[in-house]
Amino acid sequence: MFDDLGEIWTHLKLNKLRTALTGLSVSVGIFLLITLLGSGNGLINAFKANRGGMAMDVVKVYPGITDEAYGGWEKGREIQLDNRDIRMASGQFSDRVTEAAGQISLSGGTMSYGDRSFSASLGGYYPANEHINKLKIIYGRYINNKDMEERRKVIVLSEKTAKQFFSIVSDAIGKSLRVDGNVYVVVGIFSDEGRFGGMEGHIPFTTLQLIYKTGQKVDQLTLQTRNISDAASDSIFQRDFKKAEAGLHSFSPTDEGAIWMFNTAVGEEETDKAMGYLNTALWVIGLLTLLSGVVGISNIMLITVKERTHEFGIRKALGARSWSILRSVLLESVIITAISGYIGLVCGILMTEYLNATAGQETMTIADQTMYTFLNPTVNMTVAIEALFVLIVAGLVAGFFPAWKAVRVKPIEALNAH
């Protein structure tokens, strides 16, 4: 083995330029593979980070517009959700819905404290919203059941909102805030992390319905669910739930547009699938680039073998077995591929680190929300090992046909070749 390596080394040194140029194509191939995969990871990581916080066992239900005429109604009717939907969801679907919450959002309200006054959005929420939207309470508490039952005039502010009124955020707790002429007591502050939008305050759902006289109306339904995290059970649940809704709001059970449902768990599955496709596409592009490098090596090895035919003839005359010649050509090919591939691998990793240090640190701010465009665009150890494995296989593939050709020549023909 040591002898073989010595032989190959001697031979590679004879053709320095050729070896280097051939290796370069493989280096570039691996470099691109790593850079592409790293960049892909950057996009995927950024997407995941931006998607941020939403509980995984939540189904959202939005009202839509009917697609079909039904029960004397024209098509194109707007569906309005109301408190009956909430009761229906928690009553009729108690096997799959652990908690049903409604929400109503009002924008353009005026929030004031002392002599300061700002425009802010106001939402009526259920206590479950804390978990559903993964709100991080930093001071005080969120809306609770007592607030709901007694229709208390309490408010939970976002940290950003509290900052507008109080230089020390925690000072807000217990203070009375005026919103559209009504006074609310601040009971908690939640973090803005991972949230879009401007200033906002949350009040109990029941309080909002009472004060703003919205009657029974509900903007959006949020269901805390169990046992429907895969696509199959989700579609069954959606079918069942839509049927129940159809009865409640008199639309056709087959109407696709009347209400919209979104299962975060299944959504996650879809997203992961899309990410998987992206990753596969990058591998394919990278491997094709690498393939062109491998073809280059194979080509050069063919020329090398042709040049060395006479030498192989001498070796055969002296008693070299076919395997010995096959092995030496294969080893040479693997060594060129492995060394140049390793150089490409290191360059690729340096490149991803560079990307990480530059583009990876950049963020976009959309409506006060920090968005990543490119997060941690690097490859992990597994990918590096996979790439190395690919390289060795590539080297073997590149060397095989030339080696086979070298072995097939009859000794006397090889000896007579010049």
Binding site: H11, R315, K316, L318, R321, K410, I412
Partner: protein
Amino acid sequence: MEQTTMIHLDGIHKTYQGAQPLHVLKGISLDIKKGEFVSIMGASGSGKSTLLNILGILDNYDEGEYLLNGVLIKNLSETKAADYRNRMIGFIFQSFNLIPFKNAMENVALPLYYQGVSRRKRNALALEYLERLGLKEWAHHLPSELSGGQKQRVAIARAIIAHPQIILADEPTGALDSKTSEEVMQLLRDLNEKKGMTIVVVTHESGVAYRTHKVIHIKDGIIGKIEENKTMEGQPYLK
């Protein structure tokens, strides 16, 4: 010395297939005994090189039987053929056939490499053989730095290092001047007389042929007369 048969050929035929098949050997039957120093002499195209290639297991034959030291050489696998070449046959070529990027010592050691002998051991042995042939100080030179005679002596060292049964020499003096030709032939004669090596030389040159004990004439693929050359009265080289 007991005279056992080293090479036994019986009705060897060889045809080169092609657009126009060429029947080169038309029934060669021949015995060469152990310890003999013979030459096969013929004009170009007579089939002498083909015969040598068959003797050296570098080429196969179509018909007949070839026994080398009692072993039937027919339809061998690649591996078997390689092993027989390695252990039973030493080659000396007209154009030396040294590997250009290996120094003299490495070239000499090559047959041992294929026997799996360790580098240290085979290089030591190669140096010993080079010293015997007066090339010790050239051991680390590349073939391109050696003269023709030196190259052929390196090739001879390589041919004998694995203790083969026979040495096959194909026009061993073809690329040498008359003085070095004489030296090379003397070396072969010494190997034969002192070591008892069986040597077959193929040549078209009578000057070479008459420095062997027996001259086998070959013409148009068949063996003509076989001359005993007891006196070893050298003729001048035709240079």
